[in-house]
Amino acid sequence: MSSTHLTISDLRCQPGSQELFDGLSISVSGGETIELRGPNGCGKSTLLRIMAGLQQPDSGDVTRYVEPLGYLGHKFGLASILTVQENLRWTSTLNGAKFDTARAQDLLETFELRTATNKLIQELSTGQKRRCSFVCLLIGEYKLWLMDEPFSSLDNQGEELVRELIQEHCGKGGSAVIASHSTSPLAHAALVELGIN
């Protein structure tokens, strides 16, 4: 039986004069993928930030049953003057886990970052930084992933890899909420359409 990872109920958010959503309720359970879709400015990123706890809604409740959450925002969440490996170590430290070098190397291999292990983040391309932030997400072993435009800056191969990983993660009882503009929706994802009011 799948457990609930996060619920939001009767959420209202109106930053400034434009109302983004009102009365929005979503429940995210283990094994579930939710894809947020909608035009620019409809509040996908805001909703993800509210789910993560980085932003407060005007009203409504957000209950997180699993913490910490893996959050992948527009920023990569990587210290630019540290190496790839040092950033991965930091993620392990935050989670109170011992850094598993072998697992980190495997993941870097999967994301074709093996040769960049000792490179500073500022020396990587935007696509490589995005790949590295995925490795951090996997190293962190978070149950719930909140991802804002995860496919941006990735080539076709990278996008395919991320799609597979999301599917694998949810197949193992994890969950993911993804804001995406990608033309092809994620397999088995429940779509939540947000519109501009």
């Binding site: 910490p68 630019s80 993620t91 989670n95």
Partner: protein, 221 residues
Amino acid sequence: MRYWALYRRELLIEFRSGVESLIPIIFFLLVVGTFVFTLRSFTAGDNRVIVSVIWITTLFTSLLSLDKLFKRDHADGTLAVAVLHSDAITATVVTKLVAHWSVTGIPITVLGPAVGLLAGMHIDHASMLGFTLLIGTPTITMLGALVTALLVGLGRGGELLTVLVLPLYIPILLFGISVCHLHIDSASYTSELFWCFALLTGSTTAIPLALGPILKLSQDS
């Protein structure tokens, strides 16, 4: 273990920043050197003036260094990642502050009395200056971090930081200078020294706990 790993990371960032990390210390030496050595003929070797100049310059140096305390982490998104780990945020904040004090507070604690000695301070007076800086600089770091955390999400620092943080620095400045002046005058300074310790204890116990929630709130802007 976690604290040590986080502290190492912060120190690594400071060292990789190179000259940027040294600028506050260079600023401190330039300002203290300029004042102490140009005013020497007017002060007639009055140690009280030297102590006051060093203490006031310490405050301005902290303003220069504190501005970037959380700014870089906010810009690259690592601060957002850190605040999502509620059980690790206090450790993150504490190690960040200790690392900041290690690269600014400790050098000032050492260099302040050294400059004093070069300017002709008696070794006893210079030692007391070093001792008060040892108590005062962590307090300054804590108070400054509190205001910096409030401002980080607004993308404001600089002048606003100066206006907000300087009034908070006044008590530690007054007590720190008073201890040194009373010591120079061979008067009792026990109560002033206790106040310095009280400020140190209060700020180092309460502020790190408050910074986590403040930094999380600062993301909402």
